[in-house]
């Protein structure tokens, strides 16, 4: 059958599309599948310009640091925790957007676990913090 995202991701995207705060959605493999319009100003690029993105490219496109400026290991990123440990995770951090700008943000990620314990992805909401 043709590729179709799980219903839980479809509903998550529809919810994100309707929200006025930034939201980012990945599939179970960590591939970026969607972020909404409010997220575009923090990420520095419109979603329609970049589209879905493999997990392997995300670290290059969106660099991350701890608040003190040290690089953050991937396993400490809230989204990675949500996708590997399947628990919600939160932390403040710094992120370099597609436009090259570093911003200080808070990130809260939750795993998306569907019917039958199907692990379908994760959803993160984030917001800009004052430096």
């Amino acid at each position: 059958m043709a590729t179709q995202h799980p219903i839980e991701l479809i509903l998550a995207r529809q919810m994100a599309d309707a929200m006025s705060h930034p939201m980012w959605i990945t599939d179970a493999a960590g591939n970026l599948v969607f972020y909404n319009e409010p997220a575009e100003s923090i990420l520095g690029v419109r979603f329609r310009e970049v589209g879905e993105m493999p997990a392997s490219e995300l670290a290059d496109r969106f660099a991350t640091q701890d608040l003190d400026g040290t690089d953050l290991p991937a396993e400490e990123l809230p989204l990675v925790i949500a996708l590997t440990e399947w628990i919600p995770a939160h932390r403040p951090m710094r992120m370099r957007g597609f436009d090259g700008m570093w911003r200080t943000i808070g990130v809260t990620a939750i795993p998306l676990v569907g019917e039958g314990e199907r692990r379908v992805g994760a959803l993160a909401t984030f917001w800009e913090l004052e430096d």
């Binding site: 590729t3 179709q4 479809i10 599309d17 039958g116």
Partner: protein, 276 residues
């Protein structure tokens, strides 16, 4: 495969002179393969019209979900009370209760005089979303589709053909129009390229505006979905109880004229049969 509409009405039965042709019974469809094997899809009040072949020997009833208009006929399905007939009921799994517990809310006093546990030769099967099940010559793939509660759509393969059954489905939820992106469309994988799609077309555009989130489609949504999925034939289903035969005819004629769909579009008439 031969596909027969036993009950086509949505939400609640509506018998009367205005609903004679499209029917007053609620959702149920019979599928028969070339070797005579049968499946019953949903068990609304229409299930009582199942053919003798479908209610003898080993009977299989597959439930998309447990809303009353899809299970009310179960209590009146003769084989359930016949110790000589083996009955299998397949329904969506849930996290909070077994299928037996959920069906038992209806099939027990005071709503029904007989307890589910007292029915002879009944076997229940919980269907996980995304599962594929072989039943005789049929292969049935399920997936969650947008409708309140645990609701499945079915893709039934048999005799080399494909029937997709989505009696209750709101793929447009949260958007103004159906997306043009198959990957982001509820039910697409089940319906893609189907020879026959039986799909919810309950509301008019005006009715839908006041009932967003109730889990149903308009005729226009159903046509959009069928176009996206590239089906050969769309049969509309789950007719709104207040819609008369004449109104349904009129709306079908209008949308055929205005949209010129690339597939065959038919209104789901009571007792209509389709060779797939």
């Amino acid at each position: 495969m031969k596909v027969t509409l036993l009950g086509t009405r949505g939400s609640v039965g509506r018998a009367g002179p205005a609903t004679v042709r499209y029917g007053g019974d609620t959702s149920s469809v019979e599928v028969e393969s070339s070797d005579g094997s049968t499946l019953l899809l949903d068990a609304g009040t229409g299930v009582v019209h199942a053919s003798p072949a479908a209610v003898s020997g080993t009977v299989h009833v597959m439930l998309t979900h447990l809303h009353m208009d899809h299970i009310q006929g179960l209590g009146f399905l003769g084989p359930l009370f016949d110790p000589g007939t083996e009955v299998h009921i397949w329904g969506p799994a849930a996290t909070n209760a077994t299928l037996a517990a959920r069906l038992g809310r209806y099939l027990s006093p005071p709503l029904f005089p007989v307890h589910l546990r007292d029915l002879p030769s009944l076997t229940l099967h919980e269907l996980e979303a995304g599962s594929t099940t072989s039943i005789g010559p049929f292969t049935v793939t399920t997936d969650r589709i947008i409708h309140p509660g645990r609701t499945l759509g079915f893709r039934v393969l048999g005799d080399g053909k494909c029937l997709t059954y989505m009696p209750d489905h709101e793929p447009v939820l949260g958007a103004e129009h159906l997306t043009a992106e198959p990957a982001w469309t509820s039910g697409y994988a089940l319906a893609r390229g189907a020879d026959l799609l039986i799909h919810d077309a309950q509301y008019t555009n005006e009715e839908y505006a006041a009932r967003v989130g109730w889990g149903h489609s308009t005729l226009s949504h159903a046509v959009d979905f069928a176009e996206l999925a590239g089906v050969d034939r769309l049969v509309t289903f789950h007719h709104e109880p207040d819609h008369s035969d004449d109104l349904i005819d009129q709306w079908l004629e209008e949308i055929r004229r205005d949209r010129e769909p690339s597939f065959e579009l038919e209104g789901g008439l009571a007792a209509a049969s389709f060779e797939v």
